[in-house]
Amino acid sequence: MKTSSPEVTRCWPSWSGVAASLLLIAAASGIAVSPRFVYWDFQLRAPQYPKGLRLSGYPDRIEGDVREIDLLNHYIGMKPLGGAAPFERRVAKPAIGLVAALTLIAAFWPSRASIVLLLPAILFPAAFLIDLQGWLRYYGLSLDPRAPLSSSVKPFVPPALGDGKIGNFRTFGAIGPGLGLAMASSGAAIVAAGLRWRRRRRAVPIAAVPATRAVATVGMTVPFFLASAGAALGAPWTVSPTGPIRTIEDAIARADAGDTIVVDGGRYSGPLLIEKSVRLVGRNAPVIDGEGNGTVVTIAAPDVRLSGFVIRGSGDVLGREDSGLLVRAPRAVVEKNAFEDVLFGVTLQRAPETVVRDNDLQSKPLDLARRGDLIRVWYSDDVTLESNRIRDGRDMVLWFSKRLTVRANRAHGGRYGLHFMYCQDARVESNHLWDNSVGAFLMYSRHVAMTGNWLERNRGASGHGIGLKDMDAAQIADNVVLGNRIGVFVENSRGTFERNIVAHNEVGLTILPSARGNRFERNSFVENGEQVAIVGASGRMTTNAWQGNYWSDYRGYDVDGDGQGDQAYEPSRLFERLADRNAALRLFRENPSVAAIDFASRVFPVFKPKPTFTDAAPRMTPVASSLEPPRRAARLPWLVVAAGMLCWPTVVLVGSLVAPRSRTSSPSGAGTSDIEREETSRHGIVSEKAIRANGPRGDSTSTASDPRGAIAEPTGRPDAANATRPLSDTALRVDGLTKRFRRVTAVDDLSFEVRRGEAVVLWGVNGAGKTTVLRCLLGLLPHQGSATVFGHRCRAGGRAARRMLGYVPQEVRLHVDQTVAEAVRFYARLRRVDPNHAMRLLDEWELGDARNRAVGHLSGGMKQKLALVLALLADPPMLLLDEPTSNLDAHARHEFARLLQRLKQAGKTLLFCSHRVSEVRRLADRVIVLERGRKIAEGAPDAIAHHLRRPGLLALTLAAEHGVAATAILVEAGFRVETNATHLLVDVPAGRRAEPIRLLAEHQVPIEDFELDDERHADTDRFNEREGS
């Protein structure tokens, strides 16, 4: 049964419908392909840019002379082009894909409603142009008013299409092929929409349409679409280690010219020869390894594109120029490759219009002299080297080529960051060349413009930031030349140098007399070791023009405030002039003496050298750089270093401020526990209180059981042995002691002994040698003969002897700012005595209240008490006392003598010097009389009384400045006068006791105090002693 249905909806379209579908398929393809082509072409033309500057706008990016135009825009305050339309560029490709997809859907949806899907395709070109013009308007109207030339250019709106004018630039905007294709697609979509709108309402059943028509429709549309898509996406050959094509050579052999070969990962052996114009695209960093043989990759066909590879392992024969890549054909594009372990990197030989962009290049690890050039251009015009990163190679060298562009490359660790030889019309822009032997050296070339480059720390043998030799018409502008050995070097060249910053170089500019006709304008020479060195010229150089440069060592002024110094700048450093003549003198650079020489030449014009050039109108302020430092150093390490360094001074300061305090803080010892007191007693510290409690002790050995207190002496040490060894009966033995000070014999063959527990006085006038003897015994003075204390030799290294001794000088000398507690604590530790124990000793000697007072604020009596405390810290069995009472007043002297007497009763051995008969009679068991260093008598005080008999002793206290005059007056009057630290000691016979006072009064010498000491006083002392006992 034949069936037919009137409401059949699935119908084949009519021929107009087919045409509409085909148009829409073509439109979709056109839209999909269009982003591959330039949408908008924009040119700027000006006299200084005869070839013009060009921008190529794509939906997702802008290409062309963007950096150059940005540099120009900087001066008028226009924003960088890279910041324009960020959202639009990000979504452009997905959006265009969506528009193409909608159009394609509409092609297969034969309905009027499908027209809605075509609206994006129809409106897209217009939307692009409106958006473009909107951004141009925004950029032109929002200029930065702080820009250097903002006042000379008013806000403007450059036309997106057609002619325009900005300053002296003419602009030309035009639709590119990409946008043209999009517009054509838009037109096709409009026509298709019309056909759809007007189509016949009568539908043709599918069954009525010949099958051939359907086949024809599909057959026509699918290949067309696929072809379009294929053109858009390419139809790559894929090489991978696991795929059907496993070698690059195989893929090249199969491919046709213009094909794309995708190499997906893997490692492939070189050498590779590319003799077909193909695009080689590396994906997942495929490696081509030459394995150390010759050149790894050679391009011998034009229009080859090589990107995304790791090329490594070239040979290492310099003469053969073994390279990572050798290009021998025009128009190659080499980008985003990494060259490792290669002798030469990219070598272009007669490869014009080649682009080498965004590659990483690193040489083999060889000595500099054995490395090759990482980029080498040879007879290749119109080459662009851009955004390459080069390190540890030899040179980036360009030979015999024209119209080169070297832009935004970074090179370091090599010999010549950039080296031009015999090139013309080159542009060198925005490169960063640092830590090379030389930054950029331009030789034998013409019309090379270096702008906006950063050249830093190039300090090799020649060490130039920028070097020019035999150059013509060089234009060096807006560069930063920083910290090189020689910032700019000019020899036999001619050019202009403008707005460069030349700073911190050892020599800012070295110029040879052969360099003539150069103009140096508006440059900033900042803090160079030597600003300008003119080598080989003896007089003034007038062949170059200097105008409006900033000189950091300029010492002029600007009264009229026009920004220019009112005096000319004329360099005149004497040392540099000397060093120019004798280079060996550079050894003294940075020395203070060099500054002294230059200062002398300024102060004494006779030494001032004649200036070699003159800048008539120097700038007062430097020209600021618009370049950002290419690298920004980390701040954190410096902070860490600063904190670490400041830590030590802080520790020293705080540590000294917060000196450890004694744990027995009570000044009067109130905090001292009974246990501690008992411990004090157990340690046998000899004190008045202890003496009272225990009574006199005849045997010091039994009481001084552990003189070191709580800090124990390590066993096995000689001193530890001393502490436990029974002490001999002879405390001190002096045998043939002789001490000479050059020709003066202070002590002459002196021999004597002191028995344990004995008190012996050295008696004699000043100069008799008493103090010298004591100092020899302390090991302070080297001497002849021998002296032993309890069997230990007294010498400089005689630590053991000094452990047995306590020393009380005439007046104890400590740092006056030091407190009593600090002093006692220090010496206690030195003597291995517990500092707390020493503090208690202070209390017992009634110095507890003074422990926090500075030593300099103590009275004489308290100082001597402190000296006694220090001497007794470790409870030594013997004390040496050097006129301990001579600076004390009568009361203090008598009190001190009583303490000594009790120490003697406690068993201490005493050897002391004294002038006072009263003390001798009171304390001494034996007296040794010295005269000019020799012993002239020895015996008990009563037995040698005639030696002790002396006239009365008048002790005069005078201000220090009157001492010499008073001595002279008294000696002239026939008195015998001696001096010590604070007194004049005058022998006064009976009947003349008041005469010295009268004489000094007559001569108006003020006497602060006086005291008379004679036999009668000694008798009084003895009487007092008896009464007291």
Binding site: L585, R632, V641, A642, G779
Partner: protein, 276 residues
């Protein structure tokens, strides 16, 4: 040698240094100048959009070459002679210590205090650089600081030697100033004059100049800061060629000798001539 005694004397010396007007003065001067030089230098650089440790290091180098020898010499010269003059040395030597312990303890104490001074100056400089925006050449900065420390030790040692031979601190200070003038100015001026008059070869000039510890320090610092000695002309190139990799050790060794030999001489003298 009793290291405990050395330690105690060293600690005491560090505490005394705080009370020492020379030490306080030098610390303030050095730290202030270092701070000022770096701050002013960096502020000046910032105005033109560049930064670099180059001139800051050169300024520091100049400052160090002038100030640090002076600090070391004066502090060293005052140390023993001053205590001897005040009589405090006798009090100390009357204890169970030997002169070498006193000498070394005092040297180490003063050296610690001197390091405090130097670190205050360098720390302030590092803080300024960090506050500015940081820089490269941190290694060079640390090298300069380390060399400065050795230079300070060398001149402290010379100061000690002077101090041991002088009985009065005024004499010692005068002699120290004279020695400073010799090493800072006169020796250079003499060598420059001799080189101009007699056309001394770079080799002779180099070896003669290395007898000056300040010059040795400068050359060692330049090596650290710049990586080579080409800035110092033919003499520097000759030193690099002759000494090669041994350049740094030789220079540091020379400085180290200056830090050890005068101190050793002082120790020997103190034992055989009497210290007090």
């Amino acid at each position: 040698m009793d290291l405990t005694a050395v330690w105690l004397i060293m600690i005491k010396e560090i505490r005394d240094a705080r009370r020492n007007r020379w030490f306080v003065l030098f610390t303030i001067v050095f730290a202030g100048l270092a701070l000022g030089l770096s701050a002013l230098g960096l502020a000046g650089l910032g105005s033109i959009g560049i930064a670099g440790f180059g001139r800051t290091s050169a300024s520091l180098l100049n400052l160090v070459m002038l100030i640090v020898p002076l600090i070391g010499l004066i502090m060293g010269a005052v140390s023993v002679a001053g205590e001897r003059e005040q009589g405090t040395l006798v009090t100390l030597l009357a204890q169970p210590v030997v002169p070498e312990e006193v000498l070394i303890g005092k040297y180490l104490g003063l050296a610690s205090a001197l390091m405090g001074t130097l670190l205050a100056g360098f720390g302030a400089t590092a803080a300024v650089i960090a506050g500015y925006r940081g820089m490269e050449q941190l290694g060079g900065f640390l090298g300069l600081a380390a060399h400065t420390a050795v230079l300070g030790l060398a001149y402290l040692s010379i100061g000690f030697c002077i101090s041991v031979f002088c009985r009065r601190s005024a004499t010692a200070v005068g002699l120290a100033l004279f020695v400073w003038l010799i090493f800072a100015f006169f020796s250079d001026l003499g060598l420059i004059g001799t080189a101009v008059a007699m056309r001394l070869s770079p080799r002779d000039l180099l070896w003669l100049s290395l007898a000056n510890p300040t010059q040795t320090f400068k050359i060692a610092s330049v090596v650290d800061l710049q990586g080579n000695l080409e800035t110092l002309g033919p003499g520097g190139l000759y030193a690099t060629d002759v000494l090669g990799d041994a350049l740094r050790p030789v220079l540091l060794g020379l400085l180290g000798l200056w830090a050890v030999v005068p101190l050793g001489l002082a120790a020997v003298c103190s034992r055989f001539r009497g210290f007090a």
